[in-house]
C-alpha cells in the first residue's frame, strides 16, 4: 500500500518539475509529498547533522494541543443548548450535536485558509508553509458556534491575506492572523460576536448576558454578588474553570487549556515567560482595580483577579496566541514585559471600557504591534552596554 503510494508519487513527480505540465503547482506536490513521506533533503551547508525538529513538527504539535479544546467545545455546545431548550442529553449526544456546528466552521476555515496559502505559495514560488495549519486550527475555536459560515470565510480570508501574506507570509507577519480574523468579525459584524450577549444554539429570542458583560453593565455594585445572582447560567468560579458556560468554542474549559499550555511549554514551543508574565500582569492590575473599586461607580473594578483569570478567553489567548513566536517579543526579557502588559491591558480594557466586555483579543493585538518596540529597547540596552565596554 505504502509502496504503491510511494511509486505513484515518484511517477507523477516529473509533471510537477521544471518543464512539466503542472510545474506551477509544484508547491502543492511538495507539500503532499513531504507530508506523506517527510523530506529527503540532505544537509548542504552548515552543520552536517541536524536536530529532528522542523517547522512541520512544531506546527503539528500546536494543532495537537488544540484538539482537546475542540472536543470539549463540541460537548459544551450541546450542554448549553440543552440548558436553553430544557433538554438532557448524554455526553456523546452532546458531542455529536456540537460537532454538527463545529465541523462546517472548520471546513470553511481550512478551505479559505488553504486556498490563500496555496495561491501565495504558487505565486511566490515557495513551499507551502505549515503555519496556516495552526492559524486555521485556531480560528474556529475563537468563533461562537452560531457564527454565519460566510462570515467565517470572509474573515479567514482577511486574516490570512491582510494579517499575514501582505507582510510576506509566515515569519514576517506583525499580527497574529487568527486574531486578525476574529477582530475583523468583531468590528465588521459586531452583532455576531461582540461578546456582550451569549452565543447559544437555541431558539430565536433566547438570550442572556455573558459573565463579563454582567458586571460591566451595572453600576455601583459588587461584581461577585451580581455573578452569583445569575439564575440563567452557573457563573460560579469553579464552573467557569470547568467550562460549562457559554462562550467561544474553544475557550471555556480552563483545565484543558492549562494542560495544553503545559504541553507546549514542555515540548519547548511556547514561552512560559509570556504566559507567566501575562498572569502576573493580570493579577497585578486586577488587585490594583480592586483597591480603587470603592472610589468608583464602575462595578468591573471590584472583580477579583482569580475571576479575571477564568472569565472570557484570557487563558486561551495567553496560552495559544500571545505565545505565537513570530508576533510575540523575540527576546526573553522582552517576553516578560510583553506578557505582563497583555495581562494588564486585558484587565484595563475589560474594566475601563464597557463597550468591549472582552479585552484579551485587543490586548494581544495591541501588544503584537508593540512587541518590536519592546525588543528594540531590550536589544538597544545590550548595544549600549557593549558600547560602554568598548569605550573603556
Amino acid at each position: 500500500m505504502v509502496n504503491a503510494l510511494r511509486k505513484l508519487i515518484q511517477n507523477i513527480e516529473p509533471k510537477f518539475m521544471d518543464g512539466g505540465l503542472f510545474q506551477k503547482f509544484y508547491p502543492i506536490f511538495e507539500a503532499t509529498e513531504s507530508f506523506l513521506f517527510s523530506t529527503s533533503k540532505k544537509t548542504t551547508s552548515g552543520p552536517h547533522i541536524r536536530d529532528s525538529v522542523d517547522i512541520k513538527r512544531v506546527m503539528i504539535l500546536v494543532v495537537l494541543a488544540l484538539i482537546p479544546c475542540y472536543i470539549f467545545g463540541a460537548i459544551n455546545i450541546g450542554v448549553q443548548s440543552g440548558i436553553a431548550l430544557g433538554k438532557e442529553r448524554t455526553l456523546f449526544d452532546n458531542f455529536i450535536f456540537g460537532m454538527g456546528y463545529i465541523i462546517p466552521i472548520i471546513l470553511v476555515t481550512f478551505i479559505a485558509g488553504g486556498f490563500w496559502e496555496v495561491l501565495f505559495a504558487v505565486i511566490r514560488k515557495h513551499d507551502i508553509y505549515e503555519g496556516f495549519l495552526v492559524t486555521c486550527a485556531l480560528i474556529p475555536l475563537l468563533m461562537p458556534p452560531t457564527i454565519p459560515l460566510w462570515q467565517v470565510f470572509v474573515a479567514t480570508s482577511f486574516g490570512i491575506v491582510i494579517g499575514k501574506e501582505i507582510f510576506g507570509g509566515v515569519g514576517y507577519n506583525i499580527f497574529n492572523p487568527a486574531l486578525v480574523t476574529r477582530a475583523f468579525i468583531y468590528f465588521a459584524y459586531p452583532t455576531s460576536i461582540a461578546g456582550d450577549k451569549v452565543w447559544l444554539v437555541a431558539p430565536d429570542g433566547y438570550s442572556g448576558a455573558t459573565a463579563l458583560s454582567i458586571p460591566a453593565a451595572t453600576e455601583n455594585s459588587n461584581a461577585l454578588d451580581l455573578l452569583n445572582n445569575v439564575n440563567q447560567f452557573d457563573f460560579s468560579w469553579i464552573n467557569m474553570v470547568m467550562g460549562y458556560v457559554p462562550g467561544s468554542i474553544g475557550e471555556t474549559n480552563k483545565i484543558i487549556i492549562l494542560l495544553g499550555a503545559i504541553f507546549l511549554v514542555y515540548v519547548k514551543i511556547a514561552s512560559w515567560r509570556t504566559m507567566l508574565g501575562a498572569t502576573l500582569g493580570l493579577f497585578f492590575t486586577a488587585i490594583l482595580t480592586n483597591i480603587l473599586a470603592p472610589f468608583s461607580s464602575n462595578t468591573m473594578l471590584s472583580l477579583p483577579p482569580h475571576y479575571h483569570l477564568v472569565m472570557g478567553s484570557f487563558m486561551f489567548g495567553v496560552a495559544f496566541m500571545a505565545t505565537e513566536p513570530v508576533t510575540s517579543s523575540h527576546t526573553n526579557r522582552g517576553k516578560w514585559i510583553y506578557g505582563f502588559l497583555i495581562g494588564s491591558l486585558t484587565v484595563i480594557i475589560r474594566s475601563i471600557n464597557p463597550a468591549y466586555p472582552e479585552g484579551i483579543m485587543l490586548a494581544i493585538l495591541l501588544m503584537n504591534a508593540f512587541a518590536p518596540l519592546i525588543d528594540y529597547f531590550v536589544v538597544q540596552k545590550n548595544i549600549n552596554q557593549r558600547k560602554l565596554r568598548y569605550a573603556k
Binding site: 505504502v2 503510494l5 510511494r6 513531504s34 507530508f35 506523506l36 513521506f37 517527510s38 523530506t39 529527503s40 533533503k41 540532505k42 544537509t43 551547508s45 552548515g46 552543520p47 552536517h48 547533522i49 541536524r50 536536530d51 529532528s52 525538529v53 522542523d54 517547522i55 512541520k56 513538527r57 512544531v58 503539528i60 504539535l61 513551499d127 508553509y129 503555519g131 510576506g168 507570509g169 509566515v170 515569519g171 514576517y172 514542555y266 515540548v267 519547548k268 514551543i269 514561552s271 513566536p325 513570530v326 523575540h330 527576546t331 526573553n332 525588543d375 531590550v378 536589544v379 545590550n382 548595544i383 557593549r386 558600547k387 565596554r389 568598548y390 573603556k392
Partner: protein
C-alpha cells in the same frame, strides 16, 4: 584565574565517539595543503609539479602579506597542484619520500626562550613558514605579525562532537608544551591565557607555568576559544586577540627546542559510519584513505574533515584540513518514513534538544546527513538562545546582518563572534537556517567595509 560555568549549550550524543586509544595505521604516503582553509588569503605558488620539497619548505605565500608562507608538512615531490574555478589553488599534493628530509633551524635552549623577545620569536616562526598556525579574533583569520595582540588565548579543551580528547593527546608532552607557551608569551604583552576543563587530570595542562590558567565546565560550545574569550575578558573594539590550537603549541615548542618543524598531530576518526572510532597519530594535511579503508560500515557516507558541526565535506581520498583534527564519517540516508511527522518518534528514529518526540533516552544516536525538514522563514521559539552561551542576541544579530546594518552588527557584538560558536544554533534551528554562515557573511561584510 577565572572559572567559567557554561549552562547554555548542548553535547550532541552522536554515536561512534573515539576511544582513548591510538588506532594503528601505516605511515601516510601523500599529504596536502589546501589554500582554501585560510580565509582572506591570496595564495601565490612557490613550487611547481615535480619539485622536490623538504618538511618545512615554503609551498606558497600570501600576496597580501608576502612574509607569511606555508610550510610543507612532508618531504618528497610535488605530485599535483589542483586548480579550481578562476584558477584558484585548491590543493597542493605532495608524494612523500621513504626518508623525508627536514629543514633544520638552530635549536634554542629552554632557559633562553623567555629572553628572546617578540621580534626574534616572530621572525623565527615566519622563517619556519609556520605563522599560519597563529590566528586572530575578530574574523578568525591568520594573525598579522605586525599587530600587538592584547592577549593570546589557547583552549585546552575540545567540546565539539567526536573531537580529540586533549587530556589524552597532550599527555606526557609537558616540556614541549611548556616551551611553546613560553614562546607565545613573548608575542603579547597581555600574556597567554590557557583554559582547560575543570576536572582534567592532564598534567601538561594543569601544571603549565607563566600563563593565566582558567577552567571551564559545561556543554559544547564551552571548549570554543571564542566562548572562553567572551567569558574571561571579552574583545573590545580596535584590539586583536590571537588564538592558537593547543596541539599547535607543541609544534611551536618543537620548532624552538629541536629546531625542526614536526607536522605530526593527533586526530580522531569517528562517527556513526566508522567501525573502530579512535584517535590516530598522523600529520597535518594527511591523506585520509589509509584510515578509512576497511574501517567504514557502508559505502555511502559523507566524509568530513573537521567536526560534524563545522567541518568541510571531502571524500575517502581527501585530505585532513590544516586546522582540523577530526575526521567525521556519517552515513547518507535516503530513508523516508511514511507519515513520519505524525509519529511520536523514539530514541532510534529521532534526536532533538526539544521534547517534541518521545525519545527521552540518553543513548547515543546514529545521525545521518538528513536535514529532517525544509528551509523555512525564522520562527523564533528560542532555540538559538538556548544553545548560545554569550551575552548576544542571535536573532537581532541575524537580522542586522541580512539588513546589512553595519552599526547594529557591530553594536550587537558581531566582531566577538565566529561562525563556529553559532553552529549549534543551526543544528537546533527548526527552520533549518544556517546561522553560522550568516555570521560569516556578516564578518565578511564588516571586513570589506574596513
Amino acid at each position: 584565574m577565572t572559572h567559567i560555568k557554561i549552562r547554555k549549550g548542548h553535547n550532541i550524543r552522536i554515536s561512534g565517539a573515539p576511544v582513548n586509544e591510538y588506532y594503528n595505521v601505516e605511515k601516510t604516503k601523500t599529504v596536502s595543503i589546501q589554500p582554501q582553509d585560510f580565509r582572506y588569503v591570496k595564495p601565490k605558488l612557490l613550487v611547481k609539479v615535480g619539485d622536490k620539497v623538504e618538511i618545512g619548505s615554503p609551498l606558497f605565500f600570501d600576496k597580501v602579506q608576502p612574509n607569511i608562507k606555508w610550510a610543507s608538512p612532508g618531504g618528497g615531490e610535488i605530485k599535483d597542484v589542483i586548480l579550481g574555478e578562476r584558477r584558484s589553488i585548491q590543493n597542493i599534493i605532495i608524494d612523500l619520500d621513504e626518508e623525508e628530509n627536514s629543514i633544520i633551524h638552530s635549536p634554542v635552549k629552554y632557559q633562553e626562550i623567555s629572553s628572546l623577545g617578540k621580534s626574534k620569536v616572530t621572525d623565527r616562526i615566519l622563517e619556519a613558514n609556520l605563522w599560519p598556525i597563529i590566528r586572530q579574533r575578530p574574523f578568525n583569520k591568520i594573525a598579522d605579525p605586525n599587530d600587538n595582540p592584547r592577549a593570546i588565548f589557547i583552549s585546552g579543551f575540545n567540546s565539539a562532537p567526536l573531537s580529540v580528547n586533549l587530556d589524552f593527546a597532550l599527555r606526557h608532552k609537558q616540556s614541549v608544551f611548556q616551551a611553546g607557551l613560553d614562546v607565545l608569551n613573548q608575542l603579547s604583552d597581555g600574556g597567554v591565557h590557557l583554559t582547560f576543563e575543570a576536572d582534567t587530570n592532564c598534567e601538561t595542562l594543569t601544571s603549565a607555568r607563566n600563563v593565566n590558567l582558567h577552567t571551564v565546565i559545561g556543554p559544547h560550545p564551552s571548549g570554543n576559544v571564542g566562548i572562553q574569550i567572551h567569558h574571561i575578558d571579552p574583545w573590545k573594539s580596535h584590539e586583536v586577540i590571537w588564538v592558537v590550537n593547543a596541539q599547535h603549541v607543541l609544534t611551536i615548542g618543537d620548532l624552538f627546542l629541536k629546531g625542526i618543524y614536526d607536522p605530526s598531530i593527533v586526530a580522531t576518526i569517528a562517527g556513526p559510519g566508522v567501525k573502530k572510532p579512535a584517535h590516530i597519530k598522523t600529520r597535518i594535511g594527511s591523506n585520509l584513505e589509509l584510515f578509512l579503508s576497511n574501517n567504514l560500515h557502508s559505502d555511502d557516507n559523507r566524509i568530513i574533515s573537521g567536526d560534524v558541526l563545522t567541518g568541510k565535506e571531502t571524500n575517502v581520498n581527501g585530505y585532513l584540513g590544516y586546522y582540523d583534527t577530526t575526521v567525521s564519517v556519517i552515513p547518507n540516508s535516503d530513508e523516508r518514513e511514511f507519515l513520519g511527522l505524525l509519529k511520536p518518534g523514539n530514541e532510534n528514529t529521532r534526536y532533538s534538544v526539544t521534547n517534541a518526540f518521545l525519545s527521552q533516552s540518553k543513548n547515543t544516536f546514529n545521525f545521518t546527513t538528513q536535514q529532517s525538514g525544509s528551509l523555512r522563514p525564522m520562527v523564533p521559539i528560542n532555540s538559538w538562545e538556548d544553545v548560545l552561551p554569550m551575552n548576544i542576541y542571535p536573532n537581532a544579530l541575524y537580522r542586522s546582518i541580512l539588513a546589512e546594518d553595519f552599526e547594529e552588527m557591530e553594536g550587537l557584538g558581531l566582531l566577538e563572534c565566529d561562525e563556529e560558536d553559532f553552529a549549534l544554533c543551526s543544528f537546533v534551528c527548526p527552520s533549518k537556517i544556517d546561522v553560522g554562515s550568516i555570521i560569516r557573511q556578516g564578518l565578511n561584510l564588516m571586513k570589506d567595509d574596513g
